[in-house]
């Protein structure tokens, strides 16, 4: 049974002693992370450092091997708790993962209608509201294949928002985009951040991180190496590995 949440003093996400292995590969090593309500976290680190695995554990797309994850007061465990957590958590993927056989509108109404039991009219009203928020209401009746990558990713964000989550996870949301489309997607995410949404964003977009993050998390080899405010993180990184990483990605 999901434990009742105590809204004022629980955190949005509490991760304690999290470990994950892929066979013999130790993908997450004793990860601890607490995210307050309304906090915006940016996770960065070299590829293979476990960033994506970490946020995919938060909504149980990956099972963890030991440690605990508590989302909005619900401790992850049985199927019911996972369902309850997924109802609170939206996710945006690197590859968008829109449903290609459905129109944009159908992509947005599917979850609200089937998982939440909304009527078609209510689901469509909600879908149009969020399509306007990501500034593409005019694409509602097209299939995803007819849209640019940037537009598709904005639709994917709107699709998540239609479930009205309390927490949003972004897994490298701009990594599959052509450079000229990155800004339009980041603008939508910044807008969302400013509205007070709790979010964890895995990204290499350091300009975005400076603009939107409350806290930076740097991971390497499956462990959290360093956390801090963007100012501390960029101007005075404590660890050598973090300095090396920042030098590499900020050089260009």
């Amino acid at each position: 049974m999901p434990q009742p949440s105590a809204p004022d003093h629980t955190n949005a996400i509490e991760i304690n002693g999290l470990n994950k292995w892929y066979d013999t590969y130790h993908a997450l090593k004793d990860v601890n992370l607490t995210v307050a309500h309304g906090e915006r976290i940016v996770v960065c680190g070299p590829s293979g450092s476990g960033k994506s695995t970490l946020i995919r554990c938060v909504n149980s797309l990956e099972a963890h091997d030991s440690g605990t994850i508590t989302v909005d007061g619900t401790r992850m465990g049985d199927a019911a708790s996972i369902e309850a957590i997924r109802a609170e958590v939206g996710m945006v993927f690197q590859q968008f993962n829109l449903f290609p056989h459905l129109t944009i509108l159908q992509n947005l109404t599917l979850g609200p209608m089937k998982a939440r039991g909304l009527s078609r009219a209510d689901a469509e009203d909600r879908a149009m509201k969020y399509l306007e928020r990501v500034q593409i209401p005019e694409q509602a009746n097209k299939k995803p294949g007819a849209l640019s990558g940037g537009q598709q990713q904005r639709v994917a964000i709107a699709r998540s928002l239609c479930m009205e989550p309390k927490i949003m996870l972004f897994d490298e949301p701009t990594s599959a985009l052509d450079p000229e489309m990155i800004a339009e997607v980041l603008d939508v995410i910044v807008d969302l951040a400013e509205s007070g949404m709790t979010m964890i964003v895995v990204t290499h977009e350091m300009g975005f991180a400076r603009r939107a993050a409350d806290r930076m998390v740097f991971m390497d080899h499956g462990a959290i190496v360093e956390t801090g405010t963007p100012q501390e993180f960029f101007e005075n990184p404590k660890s050598e590995r973090c300095r090396t990483f920042l030098n590499q990605i900020l050089k260009h």
């Binding site: 909504n59 797309l61 369902e83 997924r86 109802a87 958590v89 939206g90 996710m91 993927f93 590859q95 993962n97 829109l98 449903f99 290609p100 056989h101 599917l110 979850g111 089937k114 998982a115 939440r116 299939k143 294949g145 994917a156 699709r159 998540s160 239609c162 479930m163």
Partner: protein
Amino acid sequence: MKNIAALASIAFLAGCGGSGNWGWYVIDPTTHQGMSHIKFLMNGFGATILLSVFAAVMSMLIGLLVALPGMSSNRWVRLPSRIYVEFVRAIPLLPMLFWVFYGLPVVLKSMGISLSIDAFWGAVITLAISDSAFTAEIYRSGIQSIARGQTEAAKTIGLTYTQTMRYVILPQAIRRILPPLANQFIYIVKMSAFASVIGMQELTRRANELVVTEYRPLEIYTLLILEYLVLVLVISFFVRWLERKMGADESR
């Protein structure tokens, strides 16, 4: 075009009738007796088609029920499905037909179920089971060709397994599944000839019976082969049309 060529070859063979070795009179449509023989043979079409359609529909249902657990991430759920496919694929059709027709009623009776299996249902069950191992593999490859990201996206918007299959995966997989399934139908039509050995009055059985009374195997079996040829060509034509239609849909 092929049908015309087939008719032309009949006409050519018919021309050999005078040589003494040929006895095309037995199926000569211009004589009363020849015509009644042809009618007798052609009356097997109904049973062959009905048998094939029933077997194909049943095979598609069994195949789906076998394929779905066969894709589970849990190996113990997967195992029975794999065993079924390997086991059924290994049994030749004819022995299985004998077993179902002569043996299965005995097994059922020992379980307290008194059920006589007539030739039609004996053949339908055997063809369906035998073919289901192949349809299961067609489903599996079709469904697994849909990217994992689709399932993950469906999970994050709260869809259950059944909803994910119904609204997200199967509508996409069906385009890749239908053409090979329709192709598999051709095999069922051809394999249905085995039903003649348990007394099913289909195309082959009727040809056999006429051969016994008329003793004109060459002519009668030639016509039998042409009967199957026409039937299969019609289905092939339909399959190709389906493939074109599905292919056109996919690119949209």
